[in-house]
Symmetry: C2
Subunit: 358 residues, 2 copies
């Protein structure tokens, strides 16, 4: 029934065969300078012959007390995570920063909108975890705390005892808002993603905003409103559509609603490029000229944004990933969390924004 997997050779097998101690075989693999080249060669050769593939990673981990992986906790499932280009770029950069022969990336995808299950976190073989944009009250975060694992938080939330990398969301949104306001727009709308992890989709008023759990959303909204208020725009009347995810299709839906308002907004501030791309499509479908009749601003500056000639707020995603990776490595070495690292932003003005019509 059960597969008769041949009992694999262990360190011991090799040691006995060559006639040396286990310590020596171990050294052959991990500290070549601890034995003579000749012996080492003999050991490796015997190992090959016996089909020994080197020290067992798990046993090694137990003995060294290093799991040899950095875990990444994501908010949603993989498919929505990976359809977020901003995340992908940042993740790639993070991965290559922490890359090393004995370190792997452990992926802990979220279930629904609430992050990974606590159970998975409790059982994860990892030394340090990086959380990306989780809601403040995610059970996974509590689990990390319970296990006493070092934690690096990206974007969200603010948590005592953890290192943090964040983007100047407020500042970026401010830039975007000032930009459209200075172009003369007075009727401005906002198109954003989740405020809380409840899958809400639709217009969101002040009460919903103030009850929000996602710092990124909240900061961007504050930035937008601040920038508009500076130019004397009455911020109570700035409509916001909350999409349950940062996906084109959802952006398009929200934009359709915004464009249906009377008086129609002449500018839409979008919290991500993906949402903005959806808004662009909605405008096209409704026959609204961009930027003639409506201006659209994104956030992130992903490759798709420049592809679509979208004005957007640029954040240095590669730098963000690198910083997160370095923090993770430093915490691995036992460093105390340092002060949060903030990644700067700037505005990329392209063809999707223009002066408001008189």
């Amino acid at each position: 029934m059960s597969p008769d997997r041949v009992r694999r050779p262990t360190l011991d097998t090799i040691a006995r065969e060559v006639g040396v101690s286990r310590a020596t075989v171990s050294n052959a693999y991990n500290r070549p300078d601890q034995l003579s080249a000749g012996l080492r060669e003999r050991i490796i050769k015997t190992a090959k012959e016996l089909g020994y593939a080197g020290p067992d990673p798990v046993a090694r981990s137990l003995a060294t007390k290093r799991a040899g992986s950095v875990a990444i906790m994501l908010c949603d499932g993989l498919s929505s995570a990976f359809s977020d280009p901003a995340l992908c770029i940042m993740l790639d950069s993070l991965a290559s920063t922490v890359d090393s022969p004995d370190r792997a990336l452990l992926l802990l995808p979220g279930v629904g909108d609430a992050g990974p299950r606590a159970e998975n976190v409790m059982r994860a073989q990892t030394d340090v975890v990086v959380s990306y944009s989780l809601p403040d009250d995610a059970p996974a975060l509590a689990a990390v705390g319970e296990r006493n694992l070092p934690l690096v938080v990206v974007d969200q939330p603010v948590l005592a005892g953890s290192a943090r990398v964040q983007v100047d969301d407020f500042g970026g949104a401010l830039l975007a808002a000032r930009h459209v306001a200075s172009l003369g727009h007075r009727r401005v709308a906002m198109l954003g993603f989740s405020l809380s992890a409840d899958g809400h989709r639709g217009p969101a008023g002040p009460s919903r905003i103030s009850a929000g759990h996602f710092r990124v959303s909240l900061d961007r909204i504050s930035g937008y409103l601040k920038g508009l208020a500076e130019q004397g725009i009455v911020t109570d009347e700035v409509p916001l559509w909350e999409a349950p995810g940062s996906v084109r299709e959802l952006g398009r839906e929200g934009a359709r609603w915004l464009f249906g308002l009377r008086p129609r907004p002449t500018a839409v501030l979008c919290m991500s490029d993906e949402l903005a791309l959806g808004a662009l499509r909605a405008a096209e479908e409704l026959g609204l000229a961009v930027p003639g009749e409506v201006s659209i601003v994104g956030f992130d500056d992903t490759p798709a944004a420049s592809w679509a000639n979208l004005t957007t707020v640029r954040q240095d995603l590669v730098e963000k990933g690198r910083q997160a990776g370095e923090l993770a490595l430093r915490m691995l070495e036992g460093a105390r969390p340092v002060r949060p690292v903030t990644i700067g932003v700037d505005l990329q003005v392209r063809g999707s924004t223009g002066p408001a019509r008189r």
Copy 2:
């Protein structure tokens, strides 16, 4: 200097504190039916008080001889991997298939175009590995073999002793080619991705094709040519541009070259939707009407394809991931590799193809 991390409690600590044996504490966590509810409760409570977060995952793995993770080997780095929507969808489906409280996903991204380093594979704590679209001669595959780990191959390559999931690439390409041929196109071009892992970019002739290492590319080319040949098109004269990756920008570049040929092709068969999207853009930039002057066909049917109204070959990516996941689970239980699972394809005719001009 070093952080005085308090020595964490172990199973033993709890056992001593409660006054029971280690076995019993272990059972409290893993086999609740092996002890009385009262005692179990007392144990858990004491554990909480002492800050014990449950059995150490690594030690547990050593004792049970299960690493508790499935590893995924990718061809390239994360950012190019994740910008491939087809991969993301399939990966998400795979992840949710194998998901369980004590199983995580170990990511082994490739370095360059050649897959993960063998070293990383040798040290990965995993029970089973899934490889996605690696070149036949990737060192990572040899490493998996050396470690004697069960392997599930997706799309590529054909390897003895491994389970396999593949798409009917040949059949899909055949459908695409027949479609354009039946619309009357005679001058047809192909826009594909890598034939070998050498980063080549540019036109590729028969000799390069026959020296290719990526089965997916080769099968699709065969399918295209077969479909065209059926309609009497001279396949020696069908131009192929090889892009070093499945990315829009590269597709655009290739399409520009193809559109510059004289006589100009009236249809382009693209090996992925991303490449096709690039071709669409190239056509737009050159003022070529789609499908009036040129027809374009993609492959995969990602969300972006329907978004762009692209005619394309649909493969069931969710099913593909699910099958790969199930194979992985089955091999985990010691099953012998079964015959390869083939995922079917069909043609999604949309607005990017039309009759050839007379």
